[in-house]
Amino acid sequence: MKAFIAALLLGAASSALACGYCVEDKIASAYDHALVAKSLGMRHHVAFYHLDGPLKASDATKRALLSAAESVPGVDKGSVRVSLDTLTIAFAFDPKRTSLVAAQSALDKKLATRKVSLFPMRVIERPGELKEIAQR
């Protein structure tokens, strides 16, 4: 899987995961409908990112990612979902407290110490919508 993702990234370095099929599959691996329904009910948004970097598939890695994302101002506590199989992270945030760009930037900085960076994929702002996140 990692080799596949690595190959995918090599092929899509400039277009940031242009392979929509893989993007939606990765989103599916971190998609939690209860979280999405609850977040949208509070008018919060749910963002999905690809994790790029040397991540070891372990509980410790997962805990570190969860902790890093939850410590970003505006990100909802208990909303972070991580799939190390597909290297995907998702979190809900309050758009009145932070913007998507600001949340992503803050998390990127926290993950930089682990040599991990975020590739934006999709954000859910309304029911039934998976909106593409514009590149910064």
Partner: protein
């Protein structure tokens, strides 16, 4: 080589690649004539609220409807989560296309255009306490299509709708399935079906009956949260068994022994055509019909891949075949996966000249009793008994090679039965009752079935359930050699 020869060779090569076979006949698979024009898929937040499956080309169940002549076929298969009964007393948390497992069969012809739409309705409210799986993303992968998977087969979230279209370029029996990771789990949970694509000019033979049989595996375990459905325990996907490819049920058309209870009708002298698809996800099928020979086998459902006079057809996961055979005389012809480990898990059905199947002579196979237990151990014991024991024992049908098991818990103690099931050969040397029974049954010893303690407990639960039923409420279950 002179110029004329070069020209001739060039023309021959062009003909072979372009539009004609070596004989000069038009090539039915001429790619230059195939419709490969892409139309981008459309994903929207418009939720469809009508029927879960729609389209004149759809058939529900085994009987295949005649071809809808329309060259453009509108097909809707929405995804749902629902509880299905895969075996008596086994209520399984399934994920579906069109609210059925398998999903409806699409019938079309080469050259037809399929206009497909699907709403992910896995989040749809259900009455009462929700026991189905949590809503999740799903997708559709049509093996009959030649399209970009990145565009057409993308996963959609609950509440979303995807629409795309494609033209059928090859005849065959093609699988469709959900392609969202983990694909294995989506298929094992019920998200599959068949597309029957006739050759452009129809099949070369005329069949009197036409059916679709889809073989699949289920990997079920009791819900760890111990949820119930109508008083019966809920079963959920056993992912450990799934990864180890150790199914609990292997079935035709979604139900353990389903077409034994409801045989496919046929008459003597008729030609029956069955489109068989093995969706797996992990086992092969050795499809056989007891009592007849396949006059024709079209591997993958394409008459160009023809074999004659076949006894079985071997199908890997996602392989298919169309088989045709004659019904030589009145009787019940047994469809079976001749990998008998699979058959014993429920991959059995009948093609019968009588409305009701006979309650005997089914070559070691299973006939379900009219009543069924709900206790999970008793259910497992019943399935195991019907797989391994019916050849020699009946349930309320009298003695056969061995005793009738009805009343056995009243004749023997639980401890005695447990020891007998565990080590019959040892009991025959040491136990007076066992020795007497051997003599009574013509010195035919019961073979040691190598049962574990858990299996023995399941057998005993089933025997206790049998003996707790009101007198006369059980249909005698039997199977003969």
């Amino acid at each position: 080589m002179n110029g004329l020869h070069k020209l001739g060779a060039g023309l021959l090569a062009a003909a072979s690649i372009g539009g004609c076979g070596p004989s000069g006949a038009p090539d039915a698979y001429d790619v230059s004539k195939m419709d490969l024009k892409p139309v981008p898929a459309k994903v929207s937040a418009e939720r469809h609220k009508g029927a879960f499956a729609e389209g004149a080309s759809l058939s529900m169940g085994a009987a295949l409807k005649p071809l809808d002549p329309s060259p453009v076929k509108t097909v809707r298969l929405d995804t749902t989560h629902k509880i299905i009964e895969i075996a008596p007393g086994v209520k399984f948390s399934a994920w579906t296309f069109g609210d059925t497992v398998p999903g409806p069969t699409v019938r079309a012809r080469v050259g037809d255009r399929i206009k497909f739409s699907m709403t992910n309705r896995s989040d749809e409210p259900v009455p009462g306490v929700r026991v189905t799986a949590a809503p999740m993303m799903h997708s559709m992968d049509f093996h009959a299509a030649m399209v970009s998977p990145q565009d057409k087969y993308r996963s959609i979230a609950p509440g979303q709708t995807i629409e795309f279209e494609f033209t059928l370029n090859y005849p065959g029996i093609f699988m469709y399935h959900c392609g969202t990771p983990m694909i294995l789990e989506h298929i094992a949970s019920g998200m599959y079906g068949a597309v029957v694509v006739e050759p452009r000019n129809g099949y070369p033979t005329r069949a009197d009956r036409e059916y679709v049989v889809i073989q699949s595996e289920f990997y079920a375990k009791l819900d760890p949260r111990k949820q119930k459905v109508g008083g019966a325990p809920l079963y959920v996907l056993d992912t450990e068994r799934l990864r180890a490819a150790q199914p609990t049920h292997t079935v035709f058309n979604g139900v353990h022994n389903g077409m034994v209870k409801d045989p496919l009708p046929a008459k003597t002298g008729e030609r029956v055509r069955i489109h068989v698809l093995n969706v797996g996800p992990s086992k092969t099928s050795s499809f056989h019909v007891v009592g007849t020979i396949f006059d024709r086998v079209w591997f993958e459902g394409n008459p160009d891949n023809q074999m004659r006079g076949m006894q079985t057809v071997l199908l890997g996961s996602s392989n298919s075949a169309t088989v045709e055979f004659m019904i030589p005389e009145d009787g019940s012809y047994i469809m079976v996966d001749h990998h008998f480990a699979n058959a014993s898990q429920g991959a059995i059905g009948l093609v019968s000249t009588s409305a009701k199947p006979p309650a005997q002579d089914l070559e070691h196979h299973n006939i379900p009793a009219s009543a069924t237990p709900t206790d999970p151990d008793a259910v497992a014991g019943k399935l195991a008994f019907e797989s391994k024991c019916l050849a020699c024992h009946s349930v309320g049908g009298g003695r056969k090679l061995g005793p009738d098991v009805a009343g056995v818990t009243k004749r023997r103690s639980k401890d005695w039965l447990a020891r007998w099931l565990k080590e019959p050969e040892k009991m025959l040397q040491t136990d007076a009752d066992a020795k007497a029974m051997l003599k009574e049954y013509n010195n035919l010893p019961m073979p040691n079935q190598s049962l574990g303690d858990a299996e023995i407990r399941q057998y005993l639960k089933y025997f206790e359930w049998i003996d707790a039923q009101p007198a006369g409420s059980l249909k005698p279950a039997a199977a003969g050699h």
